[in-house]
């Protein structure tokens, strides 16, 4: 388990351990490790500095 996965799993455990048993916590630990692996892959991908998220915010104004 990486340091990052360790820290993030500690956060999950702090929030939800009271409602989970040991086997469920172990499943969560593995899931967090998978997320951290995906994140590492994403962070390694080159993205232009000016690349923006695809969803432009649209100011709202009611019709009336």
């Amino acid at each position: 388990m990486t340091d990052e996965a360790d820290i993030l799993f500690a956060l999950i455990r702090a929030r939800y351990a009271a409602r989970l048993d040991a086997a469920q916590l172990e499943e969560l630990r593995k899931t967090v490790e998978g997320i951290v692996r995906d994140v590492a892959t994403l962070r390694a991908a080159s993205i232009p500095d000016d690349a923006e998220p695809g969803q432009p915010f649209v100011p709202f104004r009611a019709a009336s």
Partner: protein, 462 residues
Amino acid sequence: MSGAFRTIRELGADIRAGRVSPVTLAEACMKRLETVGRALNAVVTVTRERALAQARRVETELAAGHDRGPLHGIPYGAKDLLATSGGIPTTWGAAPFRERCFDHDATVIRRLEDAGAVLVAKLAMVEFAGGMGYRQPNASFTGPGISPWAADAWSGGSSSGSGSAVGAGLVPFAIGSETWGSILGPATYCSISGLRPTYGRVSRHGAMALCWTLDKLGPLALTADDCGLVLDAIAGPDPRDATAAERAYRYEAADGERRFRFAVVRGTVEASEPAVRDGVRGALETLRELGTIEEITLPDRPYEPMARMILWAEGASAFERLIEGGTIQGLTAPEDRVIPYARDAILAKDYLRALRLRGVVAREIDAVLAGFDAIVGPSRGTAGPRLGTEFRSAIRGSVPDVLGAIGNAAGLPAVGVPCAFTVDGLPVGMQFLGRAWEENTVLAAARAWQARTDWHQRRPGA
């Protein structure tokens, strides 16, 4: 006349010729939904009262010369994440919501009613459209969806009932939704046609939100042509959904003499399990009769992690109250009561990185697709997972699905069609993935495929 396994066009001709009435047709469908549909775990609610009222109305209209078009009098089923008024429950496939009702109809439901279609059933689905991370078929309070092709095979998810109800000939078409694989998956495993429209082509108003930037609604039907007829009725702008595009859509069904330019992404066929790989390879040989096929490579990008990050982060937020409030403890699949908690580990910066990368990918893929009518490949890399076993899923990272990740993250249209069977008799599907807003192009390719082959005309046994 039962109407089973008859296409929308065939039934429409029967209705207009007086060979069958909309009321008789609706009754026949509901009878089979109550028997065969229940046995396949495909049905949540048979909407008898509403169906008969609608059927009588359109029957009267037709007698008076008022024809609403190709869907006039045609029965259909809707995935149970589409809101319906009139005391019809909308359960999202989740036990905690089995009695929950809305006071309005989803835009898609309204548009189909305007087109004269008759809602005969709310169809089963994986709880919360699979967004909690399920990994085996038994993830709905209605039980695991069963494929019409084998009693021990899964119908696919999350539009499980939409797939098996059409595949078993219980309704001529159904509405499903796809965030990642939920239309093309059931279409494959039930050996029918399924259309995932461009993101924003169809209003999501009144549909359960799993991921706001990935969710799409679309038809499952016996033919690609029927999918086009349904899309024509449900597509278009909607002031109730800001993400519904301001683009009109008209289905173009005319088939002229046309040669297609197809691309196959290197490695996507080989990454499938052997039975699927062999089926799709055979299909590609036939496809060469319709045009050219060029093998291509795509830019080296983390397509699946990108799509997963968006799905998980948006799903965690969309269901935040249900996750943190404990509602998920009432779900059917044990893993669905646990895995959602892990999504708190996703940092905002990483989610935004996935969104930014998606913009880059969308441009790169569009540039690739500009040279072709469609990218073709397997609809699913696996064939008919068995009930009671864990299946492999790109959403969990246990199987590759480059086309699914790109198609859904970039919001591109794809139509899935039957293209083979395994030696065990389980269906194999092929998809045509096109440029944004090119539903008519991918549907034309799928129609040409179905004019050349008979996979879509094969029917499951009793």
